[in-house]
Each structure stands twice: as structure tokens, then as C-alpha cells.
């Protein structure tokens, strides 16, 4: 224990540079932590954002060992998709050709080209297993008795016959009679060794199955012998070995288990936003100080931490700063400054959820009840490393009797680490499987010279599982891309959908670009062919801090990248102020007393009292679970008594010059309103041909018992609900002063046109309208028409959504479907209130008329953009893409990663989730904080990188890219796919690498269906594109 008290500062001269190194190392390591903040506001972002500066494939290569994640699906899964026709052989061939380029014809020994070898490897599920499992497979399964099931009968027969012929000849010539160039190498001698047991006479009698077995045994022995000739595979890039890994390998005891138990509880207590009734004592002293204080408080300390207790007292006395602790602890652990970054990265990532939350609370959470002070991450790391050190020391002492110098512990452990045997056997097994797949006979194998074996081995190393999965994934993505582009090309061919702009539409609906609104819009267009729909980011350009009438805090309602300057408040209409005050006082009373009941039910005496009356709880318990829909109705009725009055208004117009949170600073000036309205209308291309009614429709989602509820809300509103934005936008657009300014700028909105704000609930498919009482009298009939169309579209939309819910029968009617989705949003036990963004794969940026009538299966973000109204510099497009590509790309990539590796990159199944510190969820009572999306949210997703199809030309897109560095990184590194659709023809150009290539569709006709329902009915899985042939109606235009 000589090392326990040497936390002395090092000589000051060296410290400066080391200090710098350390800070830098932590900063780099922290970059890799998950960047998900408190769960009450869920913002979608690329899970592997930290790797965006790298090309996608390279990023996956680096992320996999670093994060211990699987960035693609499993090979088995791709092969299953190949068998199911989701991937075609053509895709693999094409992708492989592109991938290999001119290296395809490289010859590998005598066994064919690199291309052929790789193609075979991609079509065969090549199992690999650790030595112990391999042993089991060989001993207990039919691996050496029967050919793999995916080997065709002909090939099997051919191989057996060839082997039989060869063996008989071999034996006739006599064992050891080296004929036909059979060398004396280990491979040939392995064959001889095996065949020594039989004479030709015996073999005459053999059955086919005996020959099959002999063939396979020969193959196996020869492959094993050959494998010894191949160079050993390059050792996997060594992760900076934490002591823990070595110790675990040697002793079987996990030091993280000791450390995490304490660190998780402490981090949770430190970051707690108010869950615990009795918060951490002296939390305000900071992470490190309060931890040291806690540990030096009198009490029973576990054996492994006892030496630390002494240190904690001293460190507290001397108030050592975290970086010094880190430095000296690293020195004690024998970590050199040049290894800091790797070591600290691995250390920080070992409990990445909590470390990430510490970082978020320190840097990005000023709006929470208790943010963490600056420098908390350093303190967290210092505590973590201190604990690591004592746990390592204790385990080494306990298990190995090793009480020596910690600095050299790793070397001592390294000497004890068990050698990994059986590498050659694993390589041999791989060759064995390939030999079956490619039809290499034992004779072929004996002919190979050592040099060929070496080359074969090297070739296999060049195409390991990750590379195979990469190529398979490209094929997987290619299939969907081809389908999408073909459909678009066919659909736009001949310009059939470009309708004349002669008469004004009946009404217009402006929705969010969200792919969940695609079906809503499609159904609206089917129900009322004379309507027109538009898509724009769901905050409608109104970026604001908004506080609803029954809310305590103003929350930002705009994309996360925008910092709003304006504040808007919802107020009761003057007539109902008194009602409002009375009711909000009642709500406060009810809220606080409900809280008191719940809180005291967890205390001693209060708990006893509540428990005695606990039988009363059985009523809501049974009722809410067995009859969720009815009990929700009853609860709503009760809630109405205290709900805020229906008549409210927004403080939209500002009097003072500058915006701000104070009473007189709320809202926007008329000029600002005009700018907002103009910007949004121009983005959508809605600058003429206004219908009498324009419905502006934000969206949000309501569900019960769902910690991830915010992830279903509108991404463009920063994980909030877009209703207030729609309402504000409508009010602005209805303002005559705004219209006057717009008219001056060339957008004439006729006097009789009226905008209505509304909110579409994507879970229950309800639509709520705002400020209908202000609607001018003459427009009432139009409103009725609009509402009945919207109601019908809601039902149809619910019906289409229900095909994805296995618990909803495929036979139900649209009315039943609407009831079903309403019940889903009110059910305590429902883990899948809706499908969220699952299945998203495509994003259209262009006129709706180019896609109107195309069945897009709720997988497509639809952004309205009219290239004909844009200027030569494509200012509007640049503005749109600057927001749409990062936002949709972020959503898409988050779903991608949460799907391909749910336990590591997502947050796994929701079943054991446990809300912690009001910040996030853990699995069970003590685990790492789980970030990403839960499995239930992504389970029907298809992980493909999103394909943007932009109605523009490659040149214009390239110019936009050249001016926007952030976009360039995403696009050029292929985190998203891009194609352009020519505004005046059906020409499509696909971006390959850093340039565009014309895309030639095969010209297969698009299937047609009379309605969406006719196309999707009876099917739960993904659907192909189809043309919905709604009877044409004169007047629909754009």
C-alpha cells in the first residue's frame, strides 16, 4: 500500500504541458459521449455525430471498436433479406463492382478472382466462433458430416464424385507416392495422414453418405493445414487496455461492478432534479467535493474503499483540483501522457450514459431546475478514476495476492493473460465453409502452393465481416433507392401531374414536412381532390419562446439550432379572466395536494395512512387498465371543470422596440410578422392562387406512461408541439397590416382569404382548431367543408396507420381505426402509442404536384419548394436545405443506429426502464443511463440512409453545397444520399461520391390502385410505390 498516499503534486515545470495534454485528452474523449439531454425534451440527432467528419464507411470502421457497437445489421439478417427478395443478387453484383473498381479481376491463387471470391463470401453466411464454441460445433453438430444446407445438390454431388475419383486414384498410386505434383507440404501430408486408414478395397463398399463425410473431413483437415500456412491475421487494433479489461480476463472479477454501483448512485443523486425527497447533502460544493465529503463521513465503508477513505479526508483538506487528481492517479496507474487520450476515452465511455448526462447538464441545461456547474465532467472523471484505482488495487490484492506497484500492474497482468489458442482453427473453419460454398475439392486444395495459401489468407483478411456487411448494406440501400427513383421517374414521366393553374383550389392545408403527415396529406387530397397541400418545417418560421395558459415556463418552439429572440404568452380572453384565475388556483391546489398525497404515501406515517385507504386505489387501477378509453373520457370530463377557459389569445403584437421576456416586450412587431409570413410563404411556393381557407396545421403527439413522449413530438419545434406556432402564423397572416406589406413585396393575399391555425395529434389523429370564433361569417360554409374533409382524412389516416399495429385487426373499418388510435393514446400499458418516425427513408424537396398521387407509405418527408419561383442563386432552396438536410438526416440516422444496435446505440427495450433523477431512464435499479431510442419505437424501421430528392439541377445543388460547409460534410461523407429531379423533365441525377451521374430507370410501369386503401389493405409490411389514380378534378393546381 505504499502508493496510496503519493498523491503529491508533481514538479511544476512538467505540469504545464501535461496539464494541457490532459485537458485536450478529456475534451476529445468527451466529444464521443452521447449528447442527449434531459428526457423531457427529446431532440433527434445523429447518434454518431462525433464521427461526421469522416466518410460514413470509415466512421463505422472507427466507431465499432471504440464504442463496442455494431454499425450494420448482422450478416444473417442481410442474407434473410436476400432470400426474401428485399435485396436482389443484382444489387450485390452492382455494389461489389462499384466497390472493387479495377481491383475486381485481381487473381487469388489458383482459385479465381477477387470478385468471385467476395461475391461468394457475400452470399454465404460465414460463421465464426470462439475456439470453445468451434470445438462444440465440430464435435456436436453435423458440420463434418453433411454439407451446409445452402450448398446446392448438384454442387454437393459434383464435389463428392470428384473427391471419390481423386481418393481412389490417390490410393491406387499408393500413399506417399507423390504423383501429379502433390507436394510434400503440410496440406498434402494432412491428406495422406487421413487417407492412411483405408485401403481402396474397403472404400469400394462405401455409401454415398460415407463419401460425403470423407469429403468434408478431408476438406476440414486440408483447410486447417492450409490455414497454418497463411500469415496470422493482423491483431485487432489494440484498444488502450484499461486495467479493468486485463483484470477481468485474468481473475474473472469486474472492477467496474464495484465502481459503477457507487458511481451510478452518486451521479444520480448529484444530478437529481427533484425526484428524491432528501437531496444530496452539500450538492452545491460540486461533484468532487460533495463526493469526498460523503466518503469521509463516518460510516461503514466496504473493504475495497477503505484506503480511499483516508485519502478522501486528505484531498478534502487540501482541496486538490480534479486535474491534479487525474494526473497523479494516471501516474499511479502507470499511464503515460501519450496514452492519456486512449485511456481516458475508454474510461469515460465505460459509463457513457451518465458521463454524457454530466456533460449535458454542465453545458446545455441552463433551463433545468438544477444544472451542473462548469467543470463537473472533470470532477466526474477524477472521481471515477480514483474509484477505478482502488477497485483495481483491491481486486489484484484479493484475487492474485498482488500488492505490488500499481504502475506496473498491467505488465504483470499481461504475463498472466491466457494465450488465445485456436486462431488457425478459426481461419481453417472459414476456409472450410468457403470451400463448400465455392466448390473447392480436396484435390484443388492439395494443389495450392504455400504462396497461394498465403495470398488466400491475406484476401480473407481484406474482407472481414464488417466489410462484408458494409457491402451488403450498400446493396440493401441500393434496392430501396432504385425503387424510389424508378417510381419517381415513372410517375413524373410526361408531366401528367402538372396541372393547369386556372382556378383556385377549394382550400389549402399547410403541414409539417414530417413523414407522418405524408399519409394525412395524401388522404386529404384523395377525400377532396380540389384541395392543395404544402409541407414546411412545422414551426412555420415562427421561432419563439412560448408559454401556454396552463404552463409554468416558457419553452422554445423552434428547431434546436435556432435561439429564439421572441416571447409569446397565451392569455385568457378579457371576458374569462376571472374564470381563469379561479380555475388556475384550483388547479394549483389540486396539483399540490396530489403531490403531497403521492409524496407522503412514500413516507412512514403518511404512507400508513394512505395505505389504509389504499383499497380506494384499486378502483382507478382496475378501471384504467381494463377500460382505458372510458376512464380517459371520465377523467377528461372531470378535468374540464378546472381546465383553463377555452377563450384565450396570444400576446402576438409588441409595442416596445426590442423583443424580450418582459410584459411589454412580448410578441412581434408588424414588420417582423410580415417577414415571417413572407419567408414561409415563399419557401413553400405559396405566393398566389390562395384558396379562401388556408389551414396551417402543426403537429404533436399525446401518450400516457411514456418517458420518451417528447420524441414523438415535432422535431422542428425542438421536441414540442407545433400548435401554437400554427396559431401564431395564422394570426400574423390574417393581419391586414401584414398583408399590406406583403402586397408591396409582390405577394397579394386577397381580403377574403382566411388562415386558420390547428394542431394535428399524430397519435390519436385528432385535429384541434384555434380561434375559429374570429372566422369571418361568409367563410362558415367553407369551414364546414374543410372540417368534414379533414375528419374523413383523419379516419383514413388512422386506418392506414393501423395496418402497422399488430394489435389492430386488419379487418377494421376507418371509424373503428380512429377509435383504436384514440385508445392507444390513452392506454397506460401501451408502449407503442404510435410509430413515430419509424420507416423514414426518403425526403422530397419540390412541388407537391410532382408527387401528388404517388403512394409513399408514410416514409417520405415532404418539403414544398417551387423551383420556378426561386431566383438564379437558389436562395430559397439554400435556405430550405440548410435546415432540412441536417434535421431529417439527424432523425434518420438516430433511427438507423437505434435500430441496428439497439442495446448499445439505442436504449433497448422499454420494459425494464426506470426513470432516474427526472433526467433519463436506466435498466432496472442501477445501470448506465440509457440514451437513444427504445426498441419499441424503432422495431419496424428499415435502416437505410435517407435519400433526398431535390427538384433542382446538379449544378445548382453543387453551388449550394459549396456555400454551406455543414451540408457539404454531411453530403460528401455520405451520411445522407442525394439525387436531383429536373424541374422541367423526368431526368434524375444521383450523387455518387462527389459528383452526380445521370440515373437511368429501367422503365417498368408503376402499379396503380384506385385509392390508398386499395393499395395498403391487408398488408402489414413495407409497401412498394404505387400510383393512386384519384379521378382528376379540374382546378387542383399549385
Amino acid at each position: 500500500m505504499a502508493t496510496t498516499s503519493t498523491l503529491a503534486p508533481q514538479p511544476a515545470a512538467r505540469m504545464g504541458s501535461v496539464d494541457h495534454l490532459l485537458r485536450e485528452a478529456i475534451e476529445h474523449a468527451a466529444h464521443l459521449l452521447p449528447s442527449q439531454g434531459p428526457l423531457s425534451v427529446f431532440v433527434h440527432h445523429n447518434t454518431l455525430h462525433a464521427f461526421e467528419h469522416l466518410p460514413f464507411a470509415e466512421a463505422m470502421r472507427q466507431a465499432r471498436p471504440l464504442l463496442g457497437c455494431e454499425p450494420y445489421l448482422s450478416e444473417q439478417r442481410y442474407h434473410a433479406e436476400l432470400a426474401a427478395g428485399r435485396i436482389l443478387l443484382e444489387d450485390i453484383v452492382q455494389v461489389l463492382h462499384e466497390d472493387l473498381g479495377d481491383r475486381a479481376d485481381h487473381l487469388v491463387g489458383l482459385l479465381g478472382t477477387r470478385y468471385a471470391l467476395r461475391l461468394a463470401m457475400l452470399q454465404t453466411t460465414l460463421e465464426s466462433a470462439p475456439p470453445a464454441e468451434l470445438r462444440w460445433v465440430l464435435a456436436e453438430t453435423d458440420a463434418l458430416g453433411k454439407f451446409r444446407s445452402d450448398v446446392s445438390a448438384e454442387q454437393r454431388q459434383r464435389m463428392i464424385t470428384a473427391t471419390r475419383r481423386w481418393v481412389m486414384r490417390f490410393l491406387q498410386l499408393g500413399v506417399g507416392g507423390a504423383g501429379e505434383g502433390q507436394g510434400t507440404g503440410p496440406v498434402a501430408s494432412a491428406a495422406r495422414e487421413l487417407l492412411r486408414h483405408w485401403s481402396a478395397a474397403e472404400l469400394e463398399e462405401w455409401e454415398d453418405s460415407d463419401w460425403e463425410q470423407l469429403t468434408l473431413e478431408l476438406l476440414w483437415k486440408l483447410c486447417c493445414a492450409g490455414a497454418t500456412l497463411t500469415p496470422p491475421p493482423q491483431a485487432a487494433p489494440t484498444r488502450s487496455e484499461r486495467h479493468r479489461e486485463l483484470l477481468l480476463a485474468v481473475t474473472g472479477r469486474d472492477s467496474d461492478e464495484l465502481v459503477h454501483d457507487l458511481l451510478i448512485r452518486f451521479s444520480a443523486a448529484f444530478l437529481d432534479q427533484g425526484l428524491a425527497t432528501w437531496g444530496l447533502e452539500h450538492r452545491d460544493e460540486g461533484f468532487l467535493a460533495s463526493f469526498l465529503r460523503l466518503c469521509s463521513t463516518p460510516g461503514l465503508t466496504p473493504t475495497w474503499l477503505r484506503p480511499f477513505k483516508r485519502d478522501a479526508r486528505r484531498l478534502r483538506r487540501e482541496t486538490v483540483d480534479p486535474l491534479t487528481i487525474l494526473q497523479s492517479t494516471l501516474a499511479q496507474l502507470g499511464v503515460e501522457p501519450d496514452a492519456y487520450e486512449n485511456y481516458l476515452t475508454a474510461t469515460l465511455l465505460a459509463l457513457r450514459g451518465w458521463a454524457g448526462m454530466v456533460q449535458q447538464m454542465e453545458t446545455n441545461a441552463e433551463w433545468t431546475a438544477r444544472p451542473a456547474p462548469a467543470g463537473t465532467l472533470h470532477e466526474f472523471l477524477a472521481v471515477r478514476l480514483l474509484l477505478d484505482r482502488y477497485a483495481i488495487e483491491a481486486i489484484a490484492g484479493d484475487e492474485l495476492g498482488d500488492y505490488g506497484d500499481l504502475a506496473s500492474l498491467r505488465e504483470r497482468l499481461g504475463r498472466r493473460t491466457p494465450r488465445t489458442n485456436g486462431v488457425a482453427a478459426q481461419r481453417g473453419f472459414l476456409l472450410f465453409q468457403l470451400a463448400q460454398a465455392l466448390g473447392w475439392t480436396p484435390e484443388d486444395l492439395t494443389r495450392l502452393d504455400p504462396d497461394s495459401w498465403r495470398r488466400l489468407g491475406a484476401e480473407l483478411d481484406l474482407f472481414p465481416t464488417l466489410e462484408r456487411r458494409r457491402v451488403l448494406h450498400l446493396a440493401y440501400e441500393r434496392r430501396y433507392r432504385e425503387q424510389a427513383l424508378d417510381a419517381l421517374a415513372m410517375f413524373t414521366r410526361g408531366g401528367t401531374t402538372l396541372r393547369g393553374a386556372d382556378t383556385a383550389p377549394l382550400f389549402q392545408v399547410v403541414c409539417c414536412i414530417d413523414e407522418r403527415e405524408e399519409s394525412f396529406r395524401r388522404h386529404l387530397e384523395e377525400v377532396e381532390p380540389r384541395c392543395e397541400t404544402f409541407g414546411i418545417a412545422g414551426f412555420f418560421g415562427v421561432a419563439m419562446y412560448y408559454r401556454g395558459i396552463d404552463e409554468a415556463f416558457a419553452a422554445p418552439l423552434c428547431p434546436i439550432v435556432v435561439k429564439p429572440a421572441h416571447y409569446v404568452l397565451e392569455q385568457p380572453a378579457p371576458a374569462v379572466v376571472e374564470t381563469h384565475q379561479r380555475r388556475s388556483a384550483t388547479r394549483k391546489l389540486l396539483g399540490v395536494s396530489a403531490r403531497q398525497v403521492h409524496r407522503s404515501s412514500r413516507s412512514l406515517v403518511g404512507g400508513a395512512l394512505t395505505a389504509l385507504f389504499g383499497l380506494l386505489a384499486s378502483a382507478p387501477l382496475v378501471f384504467r387498465i381494463l377500460l382505458p378509453h372510458t376512464s380517459a373520457k371520465i377523467r377528461r370530463r372531470f378535468a374540464q371543470v378546472v381546465a383553463p377557459p377555452a377563450h384565450t389569445e396570444l400576446t402576438l403584437e409588441r409595442v416596445s422596440p426590442d423583443p424580450g421576456p418582459d410584459a411589454e416586450q412580448l410578441g412581434y412587431s408588424v414588420a417582423e410578422m410580415a417577414n415571417i409570413v413572407e419567408g414561409s410563404l415563399r419557401n413553400m411556393g405559396l405566393i398566389m392562387n390562395f384558396a379562401p381557407l388556408v389551414l396551417v396545421c402543426g403537429h404533436g403527439s399525446s401518450s400516457l406512461n411514456n418517458p420518451h413522449a417528447s420524441a414523438y413530438d415535432c422535431g422542428a419545434c425542438g421536441g414540442g408541439r407545433g400548435g401554437p406556432n400554427a396559431r401564431a402564423f395564422a394570426e400574423m397572416a390574417n393581419d391586414p397590416r401584414v398583408r399590406t406589406i406583403l402586397a408591396e413585396r409582390g405577394i397579394t393575399i386577397p381580403v377574403e382569404v382566411w388562415f386558420i391555425g390547428s394542431l394535428h395529434n399524430t397519435c390519436s389523429d385528432g385535429v384541434e382548431y384555434y380561434d375559429l370564433d374570429r372566422l369571418p361569417e361568409p367563410l362558415r360554409p367553407q369551414l364546414e367543408a374543410l372540417r368534414s374533409a379533414v375528419d374523413e382524412a383523419r379516419r383514413c389516416n388512422a386506418h392506414e396507420r393501423c395496418r402497422r399495429f399488430v394489435s389492430a385487426p386488419l379487418t377494421q373499418t376507418a371509424v373503428e381505426a380512429l377509435r383504436h388510435v384514440e385508445a392507444r393514446s390513452e392506454d397506460l400499458a401501451q408502449l407503442r402509442p404510435e410509430c413515430g418516425h419509424a420507416t423514414n427513408a426518403l425526403c422530397m424537396v419540390g412541388r407537391r404536384s410532382r408527387t401528388r398521387g404517388l403512394f409513399l407509405d408514410r416514409r417520405t418527408f415532404l418539403t414544398s419548394y417551387d423551383p420556378t419561383t426561386d431566383d438564379e442563386e437558389t436562395t430559397i432552396l439554400a435556405r430550405i436545405l440548410g435546415a432540412v438536410i441536417p434535421v431529417c438526416g439527424g432523425i434518420n440516422l438516430e433511427y438507423y443506429f437505434s435500430y441496428v444496435d439497439s442495446p448499445t446505440l439505442g436504449c433497448g427495450t422499454k420494459l425494464p426502464h426506470n426513470i432516474t433523477s427526472l433526467l433519463g431512464v436506466m435498466n432496472g435499479a442501477a445501470s448506465d443511463l440509457r440514451t437513444g431510442l427504445p426498441w419499441q419505437m424503432v422495431e419496424i424501421h428499415e435502416p437505410v440512409r435517407i435519400l433526398f430528392v431535390i427538384e433542382s439541377t446538379p449544378e445548382k445543388f453543387q453551388r449550394i453545397l459549396d456555400r454551406n460547409e455543414a451540408l457539404k460534410i454531411l453530403v460528401d461523407n455520405q451520411w445522407v444520399q442525394v439525387a436531383t429531379l429536373d424541374p422541367h423533365s423526368d431526368r434524375i441525377d444521383l450523387r455518387c461520391g462527389d459528383h452526380f451521374e445521370p440515373y437511368t430507370p429501367p422503365g417498368v410501369a408503376l402499379p396503380e390502385a384506385p385509392s390508398s386503401a386499395a393499395w395498403y389493405s391487408g398488408w402489414r409490411d413495407h409497401l412498394r410505390f404505387a400510383k393512386i389514380t384519384v379521378p382528376p378534378v379540374a382546378g387542383a393546381s399549385e
Binding site: W278, E281, A552, L621, N706, S807, M922, N923, G924
Partner: protein, 460 residues
């Protein structure tokens, strides 16, 4: 058909329906046949409804016919008259067991409805409901048991299903480790129970409650044991109850058991399983009351647990642990009530508490929404520092906080003082044995450990 036979039939059905449910679910699984979610739920629904209805019918008949004590004899399984030993399988429906069986069915039924959507599309759907059926059967059997042996059978089934559900997600290490921990504590409790059973048999010749814990109907009844005998047997039963109900010093497993799916956490650790220990004490309350010293011990243990859990619950920063300890504090009070000689109070307390806690645990994922709603209603940040804490001197508060934060050091104590020395002892034994074997066979002592490496070299 006489009323008696109807009542007997109802009594048998009460236990038979979950048994039938278990067989119906487990048999196809053993035959590697998979059942659809729909079929599983139909089976579960049927089992629960039949069980619940027969219990309610029985309760109604008991009230109508004024027979507060119905025994259903399922026959003697072992009978050795000359040794004065028999092993009877018998159910008792009285004022204690009947309400508890109804509660069990009610809560389990509700939970099954909840779980059917909550676990929808979960690969372990069938496995969950097999464990659930096992639990329901065990629970009903333990509650309605008329002999200590049948109680033990039910008790074991509950323990087994609990441990299996804690380890439900067996692809991760933590649930398995924690399930093992729960299992170990349960084994200790079971061992104490088993010894108590043998002792009682030895003392009274039978395990029938109506003979063992008193002649008469619960809660009346007197016991035919001397205070000393009662103390000995009662203490063993107390250990059993403490393990099952996570009383001090076994409390550490309770938060760790929250690894399973939320509905199973609710039913086990919020509601039924955690009360089973207290139920045992209530069932044998005549034994408890036969010894004053035992009563004192029971009350002390109850109060200690209650205070311990109430304080610990306050510092938990995750909702499930917080609720688990809150549950425990009530169980502590219930145990104290039993020690004080109450009968109906702890019964009502148990039933009310089980309902309340189940609802709270099922709603645990709503916490974020609830909190936001509270803040909105309140109109600002809602924080309420405990007023009493200001009265306590700071240093004492620090000590108390750490005590609660470390959960009363119970885990540390059990590991450092019991588990670790035991482990060390056995390792030492193993080394001795290796040496001894080596000496006998004349090989080097480390040959045993390297033998397994040989096979690898062979295939390499």
C-alpha cells in the same frame, strides 16, 4: 349437492385453475410449440376469471352460511400413524386467507391485462406468462394453505418465479446477477422455514395450522406450545419472513429486484410477494403471541425496517427504488402491527397498501409528465425541502444521509462480513483439496486447471 361440497369444489377450483393455466402454458413450451399471444391471453384470462369467480362464490357462501372457516382436504400424502407423522394437503379459507386470495386474483388479473399490451411482441412473452402462472399458483397455494407443508410449496413457487422474473432479461449480466442475489436470500429464508417446519412437526406431530398454531379459528385460537418452543420455532419463521419480505438485514435485494419488466416489478415487489413474509407471520400469529420475547423481537424488527426503509426511500433518486423502499417501510409497519397482536389491522393495511403500490409502480413511467403537470399547476419550480431536516445539526444530517445513501450499509455488511469470509473459506478448502488430490495421484497440483487447454491445442 350439499353446500359443503359446493364450497369444497370452489376451494379446489381456486387452486386448480392457476395450476391448469400453468400446465396449459408450459406444456406446449416444453414441447417446443409456440403459442400466439392471443392464445396465451385467452388461457390466462380463463384461469384468472375461473379462479376469481370461484373464490368470490366461496366467500359469498361463507357469509351466507355463517361458516367463517372452510377446510378443503386434498388427502393425506404421507401417513405414518405409528410415528405420529402425516403430511396432509389441505386448504383453509377463513377471514385471513379469503380476502387475500381475492386480492391476489384481482391484482394478478389486472396485471395480466396490463402486461398483455405492455409485453406485446416481446420475445419472452410466453416465458413471462409461464412465470406469472407459476407465481399465481404459488401465491394462492401459500395463502390458502392449511398445513405448513402446503404453505412451503406455495412459498417455493413464489420464490422461484420471482427469481426467474428478476432475471427475465438474461442476455444482460446485471439482471442475472441480481436474480441470483434474490435467489440466495430466498434460499436462506427457505432453509429457516424448512427447519421451522421440522421443529413444529417434531413438537406437534403435524403441520396442520389448526392443530399447530392453535385450536380454533383464525384469528382466535390458542397454541399448544411453551413460550420457549414458540420462541425457537417462531424465530425461525421470522427469519423466513424477513428474507421473503426483505426486512432488515435482508433488505438489499429489494431494489435490485427491479430488473424485470415493469408489471412484474409492480406485482412482486410492490404488492404481493413482498407481503408474503408478513402474511406468514399473520398466519402463525398465535405462535408469535405465545412468547412475549418473540413479540418484542417482531415489533423491533418491524419498526427498525420501517424506519430504515422510510429514510432510505427519501434519498433514492430513481422512481422504482424509491417505491420499493416505500413499500418496505409499510411492510415494516405491518410486521410491527402483527407483533403487537393486531389481526385485522395488518390485514387491511396489507390489502390497501398492495393496491396503492401496484398502481404507483405501473404509473412509474409517467413520472416526467406528472412532474411537468405539477409544475404547471403550481406555476413554477416545485421544490419542498423537508422542514424537519433544518432542525437536525448538519454533521448528524451528513451521517444520516450517508447511512441512507448506502442503504444502511446492509449490503456492505452482508458482503464484507458474511459472503466474503465464506467465499474465502471455501476457496481455501478448494486449494487444500487440490493439493491433497495432487498428492494422492502423484501429479503436480496445477494439472487440473490446465487440462482444459489441451483440447484447444488439438484442433489448432
Amino acid at each position: 349437492m350439499s353446500t359443503d361440497s359446493v364450497m369444497s369444489a370452489c376451494g379446489v377450483l381456486t387452486v386448480a385453475s392457476p395450476a391448469a393455466m400453468l400446465v396449459a402454458l408450459a406444456a406446449p413450451a416444453l414441447a417446443m410449440r409456440s403459442l400466439s399471444e392471443h392464445a396465451i391471453m385467452r388461457c390466462v384470462k380463463m384461469g384468472v376469471i375461473v379462479g376469481l369467480c370461484s373464490t368470490l362464490a366461496l366467500a359469498a357462501l361463507m357469509i351466507v352460511t355463517h361458516s367463517p372457516h372452510v377446510t378443503v382436504d386434498l388427502g393425506k400424502w404421507v401417513d405414518l400413524p405409528e410415528d405420529g407423522f402425516h403430511f396432509t394437503f389441505k386448504l383453509i379459507f377463513d377471514q385471513l386467507s379469503t380476502p387475500f386470495v381475492v386480492l391476489t386474483y384481482l391484482l394478478c388479473g389486472t396485471i395480466s391485462a396490463f402486461a398483455s399490451s405492455y409485453l406485446h411482441r416481446e420475445p419472452g412473452f410466453l416465458r413471462f406468462f409461464v412465470c406469472y402462472a407459476l407465481f399465481l399458483l404459488g401465491m394462492v397455494l401459500a395463502v390458502a394453505a392449511g398445513t405448513i407443508e402446503s404453505l412451503f410449496t406455495g412459498w417455493e413457487l413464489v420464490g422461484l418465479s420471482s427469481a426467474l422474473l428478476v432475471g427475465f432479461f438474461h442476455d444482460r449480466a446485471d439482471p442475472v446477477r441480481n436474480a441470483l442475489r434474490v435467489w440466495i436470500v430466498y434460499r436462506i429464508a427457505d432453509a429457516a422455514f424448512l427447519v421451522a417446519e421440522v421443529v413444529l412437526h417434531h413438537l406437534t406431530g403435524a403441520g396442520d395450522f389448526d392443530r399447530m398454531v392453535g385450536f380454533g379459528v383464525w384469528p382466535g385460537g390458542t397454541v399448544d406450545l411453551t413460550p420457549g418452543q414458540a420462541l425457537f420455532a417462531g424465530s425461525l419463521l421470522l427469519v423466513a419472513a424477513a428474507g421473503k419480505s426483505a426486512l432488515v438485514p435482508f433488505s438489499g435485494w429489494l431494489p435490485r429486484a427491479m430488473e424485470g419488466p415493469t408489471p412484474s416489478s409492480a406485482i412482486f415487489y410492490g404488492a404481493l410477494s413482498v407481503h408474503l413474509g408478513a402474511f406468514l407471520l399473520l398466519r402463525v400469529s398465535p405462535v408469535v403471541q405465545a412468547s412475549l420475547l418473540l413479540q418484542v423481537i417482531v415489533v423491533t424488527l418491524g419498526i427498525t425496517t420501517a424506519i430504515y426503509a422510510a429514510l432510505t426511500s427519501r434519498v433514492q433518486s430513481d422512481i422504482k427504488s424509491s417505491l420499493a423502499f416505500a413499500s418496505l417501510s409499510q411492510v415494516g409497519i405491518i410486521v410491527a402491527e402483527i407483533g403487537l397482536g393486531f389481526h385485522y389491522l395488518p390485514l387491511v393495511h396489507m390489502i390497501g397498501h398492495a393496491c396503492l403500490r401496484t398502481l404507483q409502480l405501473l404509473r412509474a413511467p409517467s413520472l416526467l409528465a406528472d412532474y411537468r403537470q405539477l409544475e404547471n399547476a403550481f406555476g413554477g419550480r416545485y421544490s419542498q425541502a423537508a422542514s424537519w431536516s433544518k432542525l437536525v445539526p448538519e454533521s448528524l444530517r451528513g451521517v444520516a444521509y450517508r447511512w441512507a445513501f448506502e442503504r444502511g450499509y446492509l449490503d456492505t455488511f452482508l458482503y464484507d462480513w458474511i459472503a466474503r469470509p465464506t467465499l474465502k473459506f471455501f476457496r481455501w478448502q478448494q486449494r487444500r483439496e487440490d493439493k491433497w488430490t495432487a498428492w494422492l495421484t502423484g501429479t503436480t497440483s496445477n494439472s487440473a486447471t490446465t487440462a482444459s487447454g489441451g483440447v484447444t491445442d488439438e484442433i489448432a
